[in-house]
Point group: C2
Chain length 521, copies 2
């Protein structure tokens, strides 16, 4: 049981917040939102009635599929707020009819070929950490059924090229398994999304995951050397190259395609040497705007720290990093080649010149890190208590940032009040920083009304997203589009790019069976 | 006259190599290749008979077009070896029927709309520095005619966002005009291809130009914040964003599209602060392979020098940097924010640890730079003398590099002998270095046979390109595909990406009038 993923929440069965973590969370819920905390048992498989599978795999392929209830439930949802809410409500109406577990490319092709002929939708599934409705089989009546195609058997680091610092990795390999295979070679992929333990390389590539580094190369896009993708039209494999100018990049069409063009089965990834030298510091600022000036200075300095995370007063307070009195900025450098003291010294100087108060120690950074890693486990505790909690992330150029932030955080706070009649919390951090602008990440909490939670959440999400798009941001910086972001993606995406992408999709997926409703219309 | 571009060679009328430069070149031709040097006058417009224009612009649009013979000749060719050869042979058989000079987007749209209806091919033209057959109107009989669409009137830096360090720049703006507009703001685009003076922002984006920096962000791809493109189907404008995870990047479809999807009319570009601190050194190595180990060490160190150019013994000798006794490595750092001594010191250490001999001064670097900038002017001197001279560039992962280099340089040298019966020269430099591999740049010289030069060139180009593709490189790292590289691009590009791109093209360019024969079939 220990390795089996929960079908309703984060991580494996039996894991979750410990008592101290739960206590801290309960205190926040009670003090800040007036929510009376208690422990609610998660849904049990036996409570869930699944619609009978509408399709049957052909006999010769039967071994590739399962209709096991646990598997169908596991593949119904990602880990978003509305999905967890419905899971706790035992609503698995959109469960896939079957789950395919191909062991190799030939299997994956066979599944697609059958599905194309049978008009069955195919939803690629890595480890199910989507928080944007990327894996739920909501495919409409046009299809005869829906199959979730799970890549879990594509779980190996196949080949390591130490000289070029690259590795060929199967798409279903999860973060820890990648690191374990690379470690003996003194290598690391240095890509740690919050979902690291329970997300896969293929998922990172399909969703343009944002990684470990706060500056410089950080999107998974930049670490992809080549990709291999099974599409209904055949295999699309790109050439391993450090760089190229030969036409538009084929990899960049695959990266971010969210399972709508094909199933990424493996990729050659650029790696890093395991860092040996580290340095950094923690700073306090009166507020977010004061801190953002320092962040911009460092972001444009060419120093490229590995960490430059900013946590506003709200967020620092809520997560127990401080008592709401400071915006926290965490600076870190790492290198496998050279001591980073000079780099850190200059960055510290820049931050102090811009009003940062140097902390005497890194307690705030450590406190933050601990809470950060455990955050995804909170949802299964808070959802049944009627807490509406969600996050969204974006990026925007520096010239627009202050107006953008004001518009988005105000709209979100107002929407909470409109939806619930009470104040909630809206807090902000920067996950990544580019020379031309930051990637702000927003978290909101509200006390919802049992029975109306989905509708209340939708109101807040809609108002926040409307404000974000109107103020010039991107609807997602690294969570992906999924089904949840489609209305705003349509506004953001150039209409003609939509047409071009749609045509490209039809070329690779003529029956249009792949992840319907995501990216393409 | 001084500002008018030569229709047969590099730069403006009246410019060219000075006497000392010519003397050095003549000495190389005589000593190394037995070519008897003399000065040959370039072709004159009056020597050229152009086919009458096959198409006429509609009256209301007549002011947007010219059939002036100079303009038609100027727009017939880029600056490649075979093109210059044909220009000197007064062969302008593929001259465009008309040259369009739109002053704005509405004009550009009108030209495309008319061309679509009249079945006339449209070839976007920046400043004509293509060396891969990207602008020659070889469009076949399917079309009623061909129009070269020149962006020269799109020549302004429209808007500067100092806070985000970005600028909105029209696509026809040449390098020096961009720098002149940015300089008063303490900004620089830091993108200096060899063609800098006579190439445009739109051309750089359309061809995935490689820039100033030898490491880190260097392809123009990384500096594009957003693009605006006029296509036959309408305007495609992307959102200004520092980073995004919202589906496959629309910009990355436009970047490298070589005029086959639309005409890029402007872009928001990421800029750099003007550097204030510099440092570096020059090193000698016994040969290329010895030097490449040091380059790899620095390339993987995370130090990211702005320059890390390697020039092999052959190339250093031919260009008078030394007497063929050393491979030269030029290292440089630059920063607007901090002294770079510590960076340079560590890189010097790495290079010396890897066998580099530190030069006492930077004479070799200066000698190289001077020759480098003037190189494009040599072609009009050497072409009429029967010198076959060309370059090609690529990139390859480090694990393959030595075998790759041996295969490619051997094939090229052998092909020279096969084609001409005599030895030529093949030399190599690295223009850019990625952590996972270098971007080698090859130059060859051969004494050809008047009357057979085109055929001899083609034999060498074909053998070299075949070897390069077979050994795992890219057919182009930054020169682009054009018409010359299409046979190898077809081998390199995943076939299914070709189909997807083709479908995308049909969505944006339904009549398929844009740059036929380039990228799409």
């Amino acid at each position: 049981m220990g390795d089996r993923l929960k079908f309703y929440g984060w991580g494996t069965e039996g894991s979750g917040l410990d008592e101290a973590e739960r206590e801290r969370l309960f205190r926040f819920l009670a003090d800040r939102l007036g929510i009376d905390p208690r422990l609610v048992s998660p849904p049990r498989l036996t409570d869930i009635s699944l619609r009978p599978s509408r399709v049957t795999a052909p006999g010769a392929m039967a071994h590739l599929f399962t209709a096991d209830p646990y598997e169908r439930c596991l593949h119904t949802y990602g880990k978003s707020y509305p999905e967890t809410l419905r899971a706790f409500g035992c609503d698995f109406a959109n469960a896939p009819d079957l789950v395919a577990l191909p062991a190799n490319e030939a299997d994956a092709s066979a599944v697609m070929e059958w599905a194309g002929g049978a008009n069955v939708a195919v939803i690629p599934f890595g480890c199910g950490s989507s928080v944007v409705g990327g894996v739920e089989p909501v495919v409409g009546d046009y299809y005869a059924g829906a199959v979730s195609l799970d890549l879990r058997r594509f779980d190996r680091v196949v080949e390591i090229d130490r000289t070029s610092r690259a590795a060929r990795i199967q798409a279903g390999t999860r973060g820890p398994a990648i690191e374990a295979a690379l470690k003996p070679h003194g290598l690391s992929i240095r890509h740690y999304p919050q979902s690291f333990e329970f997300s896969t390389l293929g998922g990172w590539i399909a969703t343009r995951s944002g990684g470990h580094f706060a500056t410089l190369y950080t999107h998974i896009d930049d670490f992809v050397e080549s990709t291999r993708t099974v599409t209904p039209a055949g295999i699309l494999e790109t050439r391993r190259l450090p760089g190229s100018g030969a036409g538009p990049s084929p990899d960049r069409l695959i990266i971010g395609s969210e399972g709508s063009l094909g199933v990424i089965v493996e990729a050659w990834m650029r790696l890093q040497d395991t860092p040996r030298f580290r340095g950094g510091a923690v700073f306090g600022f009166p507020d977010l705007f004061a801190a953002s000036k320092a962040v911009r200075a460092v972001g444009q300095s060419g120093l490229y720290p590995s960490n430059l995370r900013l946590i506003d007063n709200q967020e620092a307070g809520i997560y127990g990093v401080n008592d709401f009195e400071e915006t926290i900025l965490i600076l870190a450098f790492e290198s496998a080649d050279h001591p980073v003291d000079v780099w850190a010294k200059r960055a510290i100087e820049l931050i102090e010149d811009n009003g940062g108060r140097l902390h005497a120690d890194d307690r705030a950074a450590k406190a933050w890190r601990t809470v950060f890693i455990r955050m995804p486990y909170a949802r299964e505790v808070t959802v049944p208590l009627g807490l509406i909690n969600d996050t969204f992330e974006t990026s925007v150029t520096w010239d627009k940032f202050e107006a953008f932030h004001t518009a988005v955080s105000t709209a979100t706070a107002e929407a909470i009040k409109e939806a619930t009649g009470a104040e909630g919390t809206v807090s902000t951090r920067f996950t990544h920083v580019y020379p031309d602008g930051p990637a702000p990440y927003y978290t909101f909490n509200a006390r919802g009304t049992p029975g109306r939670l989905l509708e209340q959440w939708r109101h807040i999400k809609t108002r926040a997203s409307d404000a974000l798009i109107a103020a010039g941001g991107t609807i997602t910086h690294h969570h992906a589009v999924g089904r949840d972001h489609m209305p705003w993606y349509r506004q953001q995406r150039p209409e003609l790019f939509g047409r071009a992408f749609d045509a490209a999709k039809s070329a690779l997926d003529p029956a249009r069976i792949l992840n319907p409703g995501v990216l393409a219309d």
